[in-house]
Amino acid sequence: MPSKKITKEHIRNFCIIAHIDHGKSTLADRLLEVTGTIALRDMSDQVLDQMELEKERGITIKAKSVKMLYQAKDGEEYMLNLIDTPGHVDFTYEVSRTLAACEGAILVVDATQGVEAQTLANAYMAIDNDLEIIPVINKIDLPSAQVDYVREEIETILGLDSESAPAVSAKEGTNIEDVLEAIVNLVPAPVGEEDKPLKALVFDSHYDPYKGVIIYMRIFDGKVKAGDTIRFMASGKEFEVTEVGVFQPSMMKLDELYAGNVGYLAASIKNISDTQVGDTVTLRDDPTPEPLPGYKPAVPVVFCGIYPVDGADYEDLKEALEKLKLNDAALLYEPENSVALGFGFRCGFLGLLHLEIIQERIEREFDLDIITTAPSVIYKVTKTDGEEMDVDNPTNLPPPTEIKQIEEPYVSVRIITPSEYVGPIMEICQNKRGTFKDMQYLDEKRVTVHYEMPLAEIIYDFFDLLKSRTKGYASFDYEQIGYVANNLIKLDIKVNNEVVDALSFIVHADKAYEKGRAVAEKLKEYIPRQMFEIPIQASIGSKIIARETVKALRKNVLAKCYGGDISRKKKLLEKQKEGKKRMRQVGNVDIPQEAFMAVLKLSEKE
């Protein structure tokens, strides 16, 4: 589509940041609609959330971008590049990537909820990136909306000028133009020069089966077109560009991209590992002397084993992880094997939500049945001989006699809550071995509670507990702050006198009994009766701390055959057979995968 080239003074690069459920994706939809980027009839809810899972869970997982053209009230046409950001704390890393590619950020705040923990975290991150922040108050159509109150909160808590903040209803499409005008008037135009050598920031990528790796980039200086030979400055790899373009929001081929643009580039790149998010793209023949400051690589903090239910699916699982990795640089995996579960992978994630999402995508998009083991963090172990090691799988913990100390990662947790829930929240945090740091009143009704606690404690059920004990009113955010030595021990679970390696946990000594009892009880509930009696034991070293017994199966018979309906009998047997297939043999005991899941989801309150 040949069109008049838009000068960089008329380009605005921005992102939208918000606490989960404050309406980020709906606002993005409205912007696309009002600018005519997507015709009303082609709108499906939340266009940018293309992944089925994103729509269902109402969260954005991957950063995406889209170009819009907007005829502003000053009579000029502007190119607005929206870069979508994930809204969950697990994906803070992806947010930071997006921010580096923008000059401005729309901070959406729910008029009924006010400022939440991630609003705060995102706003600080935007401030750190020197972005112009435009607060937008959303959901004004709701009866419980308190626009003035929220305006005040934005001023007092975030220190942002909110007097002229647009008050909108993304759902109803009210005042959307105000947002567009604010972007045009407040977000600075990109600086950078077209005549300088190419300098572009890779902020995301995805794999396209026909075009190879598609690089999402923001061009700071220079220009690039098909036929150019580019170089990735960090990896040193060079490729010939086959196509450049923008997202509208589907890929739209253009002749060239120039300074200030946000778009994509394809260069028949086969391996996503050749490209690195955060890397700088330049031209081989006219390189820029200085790369852009890159990103800190995403560091997985939560680990678990993922195993195929059916061992024959190992290769398929490997392929699934490879494909997911293509679009998710933060996902780590390497082969491991377990006595109980056979061959599988040790995987690293940004957080528990990230883990759950990967798990669901494997099951849904690749139609594989998998078992995930209990999530673990990385422990720093110092052995008595002075050797130091990182342990992300309890199975790899050396015997207690060889351990001098174990350190575990700590996080600083900030919870924003209505003040009446401070009691329950402190109780949860204390139970989770948290150390109270401070508490601040944001206003007369809302409080920030600040704790330091072991990361291992929040990756299980902290979020669920927080939600249920505060009726969903509390929000939280966390960041890693380092390692602390604690009295940690390995808890083993034995089924029929054999250690089920996939069910070993590293826990604080004070909690071992409670945990051991709970796991044994849960397993008893889930392990079906078999031909013999099955003892289930929790142990620390050789010391048994809890025991349950699954009694031997006494009866599995179909008493009646009615009117020769043999098919019904066979169907029942087939169902039983299917059930057995879904179980894991440990020693000679069949353990259903649900048992592993149930233990994983085990809440301490149960």
């Binding site: 018979v557 179909l558 009646k560 043999i566 098919s567």
Partner: protein, 369 residues
Amino acid sequence: MEGLSLYLHIPFCLKKCIYCDFTSFPHKEALFEAYTKALTEEIKIYGKKFNRPKVNTIFFGGGTPTILPVQKIREIVEAIYSCFDVDKGTEMSIETNPDTVALADFRAFKEMGFNRVSIGLQSGEDDLLRFLGRTHTWEGFVRAYRLVREAGFDNVNIDLIFAIPGQTTKMWLDTLQKVTALAPEHLSLYSLTIEEKTVLGKWVERKKVEPVSDETDRKMYHTAICYLKEKGYIQYEISNFAKEGLACRHNLVYWERGDYLGLGVSSHSMLEDKRFFNTSDLTRYIESLEQGLPPVEGEEKLTEEEIRFEKIMLGLRLKKGVPKEWLKGKEEATERLLRQNLLEEKGAFLCLTTKGMDLSNEVFLEFME
């Protein structure tokens, strides 16, 4: 075809029992006429299709077949005689329920050619009968039993259920004692199966009723096996016991995979390794036959492997077991089952032990591909 067995389903009853998930409807007297007509039409279709085949056994099941007026049963029986080749010695059974016996005319049934009656008693305890939703008492049953005997039937089966919530082993033994004192020729003992969709299933799901533990269930079963053996009954199948030579031939056809034709709503048939079944929808069944069409809803042609498995699964239900050669290629599983005391050898045969009967599904699963 070496002759076949006929099953006729009468889907009517006085009242639905809480555990029943068979195709049976109370209060459908208005359909008796139309159903009888449809069923005789179906008989005619198959009689013609297979060119008046020879019939080895006939079984009227339900529901409660005897809820139909005698005249209707007669019409059905006459249709069978005119469309099939029924021999004098053919086993011909009818199921009944104590409440309908007095109303029915068993002398007339005898004259029609019925030579075996199966009475659904279920329990000897009035409290348990009430719980199950049965409409009769133990006394009512005894009167019905006498009427059946007086009508000249010398081959009578009594159906009993055990592991009823609230039932103790002692209560069960009392029932067995009372029943065997009447000296029926045949006994069917069924461990109560709690089906999800039944009233009982829902009570259990809502924890209104506590099912009997598997331990007690098996104790009752083992008690019955011992007790009946003492009383001269031979166990010939997991749930069936009979005096010498009086095993139900119709039942044996199912276990031995003989050919059978199931007529009536929701009935299942197997002819020459092909299984097919009728619709379970009463209205559709009647309408289909009004147009002279067989109301078949589905069929399944068995593969070699399925036939092999069915032979083992059904054959092992019988006390005599299956010939060893049927388990060729399954030596490993067989060895394991022998070791676990689930199977035992009897000459050239392998059969289930009592423990094997308790866990028969586990055994069958070992032989399933």
